[in-house]
């Protein structure tokens, strides 16, 4: 039997009952569509996650400095060594303590006698690079400089939310705030923080001034790196900050973008892949069931073909090819619908659709494989019929 004849007979058999074939195909269509959408959306969303990680997190490193009873693990001037590392864009050392987390801060009530100007705010000390390290900017005024630090000037920079709470709106008259009983001149208001947003409600004083609030040692170092340098800097930072005790520092590095994407994909995939596979199995059972019913209905036809000289393998091949074609059709339609859905979802979310070309090729093949497997039993059943019984 010529292959073209076999294909012709299988196609004719499939088209003989078009509605039934279409409904049978539907199971595979749903399964393949779900699979393609799952994998496509996961890849697209994963790519989107990578983009966000690149923008916000992938370059941010935090070094936690544990408390030391003797000499501090990280000196305040160690930040200069860190800043010299290639790939470091900005860095700042910060000192915080539980005692300074809720200090009473009061603004000068001469500005507005009716206003409640006493607030409970966090006070911390930091090196001069804090605005850049926190990815913020000075909304008003300026951040203190090394001169302020060296001289031990009683100056402070406050976060924009803290400024609002204290009623400090203008700096041109050098407003004062009282931290406990100590007066400080507010020289700047810091805002638009994209990292360490809690600083917007904090009062930041130079390290030299922070000692009187117990902010003696560096507790945290904020580092921003160039894109792709985070891993390298994370490895080098401890030694730069504390040459003798680097291993005691804890570096919190951003997760690997690839790993982040993979994790996101894995999470989505695990859920929806199961859904897709279940749909595919249901589709396969549908094909198997309908093909079996078709075989039973076509017993006289099988008898006729056997009488005309069809061998068992011809009968098996025809039914197997019919179910494979149904699966393949379902796979092609499912893959097309899946791709369209991924593109539509991406358009709605303003994402860039990301689809592996291999997926578009593999999906119809998977559909055909499902059809092939589903058709095995019915085909063998048809082939095993004796012609004399089939013609009876």
């Amino acid at each position: 039997m010529h292959v073209r004849d076999l294909i012709g007979e299988a196609v004719a058999g499939m088209l003989a009952r078009p509605v039934r074939s279409a409904l049978t195909t539907l199971g595979t269509v749903l399964g393949i569509t779900t699979l393609v959408v799952t994998l496509g959306v996961a890849a697209t969303a994963g790519n989107q996650i990578v983009g966000r990680f690149d923008e916000l997190v992938a370059t941010a490193i935090t070094v936690e400095v544990p408390e030391s009873e003797h000499t501090p693990l990280v000196e305040w001037d160690a930040i200069d060594r860190l800043a010299r590392l290639r790939g470091v864009e900005s860095a700042a050392a910060v000192a915080e303590s539980e005692d300074s987390a809720n200090l009473s801060v009061r603004s000068n009530d001469i500005v507005d006698p009716t206003r409640v100007t006493t607030q409970s705010l966090t006070v911390l000390s930091a090196t001069t690079g804090l605005p850049e390290a926190a990815r913020g900017r000075m909304v008003q005024g300026r951040f203190y400089d090394t001169g302020h630090v060296r001289r031990g000037d009683r100056v402070a920079v406050i976060g924009d939310q803290a400024a609002k709470a204290l009623g400090v709106t203008r700096l041109d008259r050098s407003p004062a705030i009282f931290i406990g009983k100590h007066a400080y001149t507010v020289i700047g208001i810091m805002g638009d923080l994209r990292r360490e947003r809690n600083l917007s409600t904090a009062v930041i004083v130079p390290p030299s001034a922070g000692r009187q609030f117990g902010l003696r040692d560096v507790t945290r170092v904020l580092v921003n790196t160039t894109l792709g340098a985070a891993g390298l800097i994370a490895g080098q930072a401890p030694a730069a900050l504390s040459p003798g005790n680097g291993d005691m520092l804890q570096v919190v590095a951003p997760p690997s973008p690839t790993r982040a994407r993979d994790q996101a994909q894995d999470d989505v995939n695990a859920l929806f892949l199961i859904l897709g596979l279940v749909s595919l199995v249901v589709g396969a059972v549908g094909i198997a069931n309908v093909t079996l019913v078709t075989v039973m209905e076509r017993v006289p036809e099988i008898g006729l073909r056997r009488a005309l000289g069809a061998a068992r393998r011809h009968i098996a091949a025809q039914f197997l090819l019919e179910s494979t074609l149904i699966g393949l059709t379902g796979g092609v339609i499912g893959a097309s619908l899946g791709v369209v859905t991924v593109v539509a979802v991406s358009a709605a979310k303003q994402w860039t659709p990301l689809l592996d070309v291999r997926l578009a090729i593999a999906a119809p093949i998977a559909g055909a494989a499902v059809g092939l497997l589903a058709g095995l039993y019915p085909a063998l059943r048809a082939a095993s019929m004796e012609p004399v019984d089939a013609l009876r």
Binding site: A12, E301, L304, R306, L308, G309, A311, V388
Partner: protein, 270 residues
């Protein structure tokens, strides 16, 4: 002496039961090329079993069956299938036309499973010569007729439609070639089925109650067609319980309880 088309020797067919049912009981039958044989008998007499054995659809339990000189009883399933496809054309009572295929496609179906060994085999078994033969009473084996659909090119796939059309032309329903079988009358459907059986120029036309579903006019037309085909040298075996059909055959046998009895010959002049 030419090789007979059918040569059954002491053929038995038993079906397992308690006691076993013997549907064919030591049947011996020789059918020569160009014979037109009618097998008559009541229901349950073994007619269909005989047809199944002759058509290689079933195996005898014992005895020998030679088709076109080939001993078939020991052949494997694949070889029997090939032989069946190449040498035998079937005509069924219920036509067995595929309802979703056109008439010409139904006829073409007969060729797709052929191995192509039929003509080669016949060439080996037949003496040279062709044309319509006069088959005399009792001496059919002496003639070596060869019937043909005509001069249509004999390729494997190429020309299949043309050959199918020639077969339909031969049985007089070529004008219905593009129709679905459901739109044809019973007589036309049976003619289409005969056309399908004639595809590939088989050695033997096996007909199982070919007029069982036809009215008297169509029955007459089909029997006339058989007469014509026999006249062209085709070997025809008709299983029937209708006396009228049996009377048209040149040779009649009767089967009763599996036992075959020769009834007689009549002479045709073609």
């Amino acid at each position: 002496m030419a090789e007979p088309v059918i040569e059954l020797t002491e053929v038995c067919r038993e079906f397992p039961a308690r006691p076993p049912v013997r549907a064919l009981d030591r049947v011996t039958l020789r059918v020569d090329r160009g014979d037109y044989l009618a097998v008559a008998g009541p229901s349950g007499s073994g007619k269909s079993t005989l047809l199944n054995v002759l058509g290689l659809l079933d195996r005898p339990s014992s005895g020998s069956y030679r088709l076109d000189g080939t001993e078939t009883t020991a052949l494997r399933d694949g070889a029997r299938t090939r032989l069946r496809g190449d040498r035998i054309g079937f005509v069924f009572q219920s036509f067995h036309l595929l309802s979703h295929r056109s008439v010409v496609e139904n006829v073409m179906l007969a060729e797709i499973y052929r191995s192509g060994g039929a003509r080669k085999g016949r060439a080996r078994n037949e003496p040279a010569g062709s044309g319509t033969a006069v088959v005399g009473a009792g001496n059919a084996s002496m003639a070596s007729p060869r019937w043909s659909l005509g001069t249509v090119k004999q390729g494997r796939r190429g020309g299949r439609r043309a050959r199918a059309m020639a077969a339909l032309e031969r049985v007089g329903v070529a004008h219905r070639a593009g129709f679905l079988p459901g739109l044809l009358s019973g007589g036309e459907r049976q003619r289409a089925a005969i056309a399908r059986a004639l595809m590939g120029e088989p050695s033997l036309l096996l007909c199982d109650e070919p007029t069982g579903n036809l009215d008297s006019r169509n029955t007459e037309a089909v029997l006339d067609l058989f007469d014509e085909l026999r006249g062209q040298g085709l070997t025809i075996v008709v299983i029937t319980h209708e006396q009228e059909v049996g009377a048209r055959a040149e040779r009649r046998v009767r089967i009763t309880d599996g036992v075959l009895v020769e009834e007689g010959w009549c002479t045709y002049a073609t």
